[in-house]
Symmetry: D2
Subunit: 161 residues, 4 copies
C-alpha cells in the first residue's frame, strides 16, 4: 500500500524564530515526525505549500485538490492548519475521487515539544489505510466525514455536527 | 464508539529507577500518553498486569483473552511487550470474538522521551475504530493480521510473513 | 547560602496559546525548571512582573532595583528578557549594593522544549554563589560584568565589548 | 579562559539499547548537551573512558588524575558516575594541582529526556570559571569541596558532611 502525504503547513510545522521572537515556517517536520515514531510505512511526502490556513486562498485549495487528483496514490494524508481544514476538504471532495483522503493537523507546533501532531499523524496514517473511499478529517484520535465536523474555536477541538 | 485499552506492561511502560539504576514498572502511562496526544476518544483503561512480555505465562495470556471476552466493548486495544505479542494474540484469537482487537507496543519506553509508543498507540486506536472484526498487531505505522507477522529481533521491527 | 530569584518575564517564560496561536505569559516556570534540574538549593522565587523586556519601562527597572536593595539575600538571580537586560543591570548597578547579582534569560521559551533556559539558569545559580560582589549577565555559559557585554541581535548571542 | 571536559561515562551518558532492552554506553553526549544549552564557551572535550563508576578501577582513577596533570588547561570539568565520584576526586586531589577541577554527573541518563545532566553540567561549567583552585563536586545546583560531601544512596542526592 502506497501512501502520499501532502504538506500544506499549519500549526503543525510552525517554528519559533529566536531572532525575531515570532512564529514562522522554515520547513516541514513530517519526515522527522515519522522517524521519531519509527514508522516503516512507504510514504511519499510532497510539500505543496507552507502557510497558515487562515491565509490560504481558494486557488491554494484548488492546487491541493488538483494534486489529489493527479497523484497515483489511492491513500492520501494532507497536513493542514486547523482553522480552514474543512474548507479545503470541501474543495477536495468536489473531485469525487476513488481515494481515501484524510486531513489532519495540530493545535501546537511539533517543534514546541508537543505531541498532538505526532499522535494525529499516526491516527491519520492508520485511518487512511483502513477507511473506505471518502474525504475525512482526523483530529483528537477521532475521524469524521469532512462535512460532519467543525472546529470549536473556543475550546480548540473538533466536534461532530 | 466505546474503546477499551487493556494494559499489560511491556517496554511501553518501563521506567528508570534512579536509585538502583535499573528499569522497572511503576505504573502505566497510557492515560498520560493520550492526554499528551490530546485524544478526545472515550476510552476505558484497565490495567491487567505490568510485566515484561518475556516473563508472561500462559495463564497471563488466558487472563488477557478472558478480559477480551468479558468486556462489553467491541473495540479493544492491548498494550503489550513486543517479544511475545504474537503468542498472546494467538491465545486471544482462539476465542473467535466478534470484536476488533489490536495489540501494540513500543521499542523504547515512553518515559525515555521517545515517541514510538505515542505513535503506535495513535495508530492502534485508529485501526481499532476502522478495521473489521479480527485480531491484529499494529506496529511501525502498519497493521498485520496476528498470524501474518513476526518480530525481527535483530532489527527490532515487525515484518510480514 | 540563601539565594533569591526575581522573575521578570522575558522569552524564558513565554508560552504558546493554542486558541489564539500567539505567544503570551501565563506564569513563571522557574520552579518547574529547578525541579527538572533536581536543584536542592534553598531558593526563594519572587515574581515581580511577567513582561517582554522590550516593553519594560524605567519604572519597572527601578522596581527591580528596589527589590534587590530590599532583599535580605546577598545572592540574587534575575530572569529577564534578553533585549534590555543590560539596561536593567545598569539601573540595578547604580545602587552599589554589597551583593552578587546575576541577570540571565533565554533565547527560546522553556515551554518549547528548548534547553537554553535550563542551562542558563544553572549557570546563573552557580555564578551567583561563587562570583564576588557585583552585577553580572550570565548567558551562553559565560558571565560578563554588566557593562562589558552587549547582545548581538543579528546572531542572538551575548558578546564582550 | 580555556576549559577542558574529561568524559568518563556514568549515568550521564548511558543509553537504552532497544534490541537488548538493556542500558549501555554508545558515545558521550556532552557536545550535544552543550549545543542544546547554546553554550558559547571554548571547551575541549576529551573522552577518557565510558564506564559505570562502580566498575572503575584504581588505575582508571590514576589515568583521570594524570590527564588533569598533563592538561594545559587550568579549568577542568570531569563528567563521572555518581557512585564513586568522591573516590576519583580523592585520587585527583593528591596531585595538588594549581587548577580548578569540578566533578559532576547525573542521576538519570540525558538520553532519557531528563534534565539533571544539563543543569549539572551548566553549574559545573560556571563553577569551574569562578571558584578558586581546588577539587570540587557539583551536584543539585550546589558545589562542595570534594572531601566535604557524600552521596546519600537511599535518596539519590549529595549531602555535605
Amino acid at each position: 500500500m502506497h501512501i502520499t502525504i501532502f504538506v500544506t503547513g499549519g500549526t503543525f510545522d510552525k517554528e519559533y524564530n529566536e531572532i525575531t521572537g515570532k512564529l514562522y515556517f522554515k520547513d516541514t517536520h513530517v519526515r522527522e515526525i515519522l522517524e521519531s515514531g519509527r514508522s516503516l510505512l512507504e510514504v511519499e511526502i510532497k510539500k505543496l505549500m507552507l502557510i497558515d490556513s487562515l491565509k490560504m486562498t481558494y486557488e491554494d485549495r484548488v492546487e491541493i485538490a488538483q494534486n489529489c487528483s493527479d497523484s497515483e496514490s489511492r491513500h492520501i494524508v494532507i497536513t493542514h492548519g486547523t482553522d480552514t481544514m474543512r474548507k479545503t476538504a470541501n474543495v477536495v471532495s468536489k473531485r469525487n475521487l476513488s481515494k481515501t483522503i484524510v486531513l489532519t493537523g495540530a493545535m501546537i507546533p511539533y517543534k514546541f515539544g508537543s505531541s498532538d501532531g505526532l499522535f494525529n499523524l499516526g491516527c491519520a496514517l492508520a485511518f487512511v489505510q483502513s477507511l473506505p473511499i471518502g474525504v475525512y478529517i482526523a483530529m483528537n484520535g477521532k475521524y469524521f466525514r469532512w462535512n460532519e465536523v467543525q472546529k470549536n474555536k473556543r475550546l480548540g477541538r473538533f466536534e461532530k455536527i
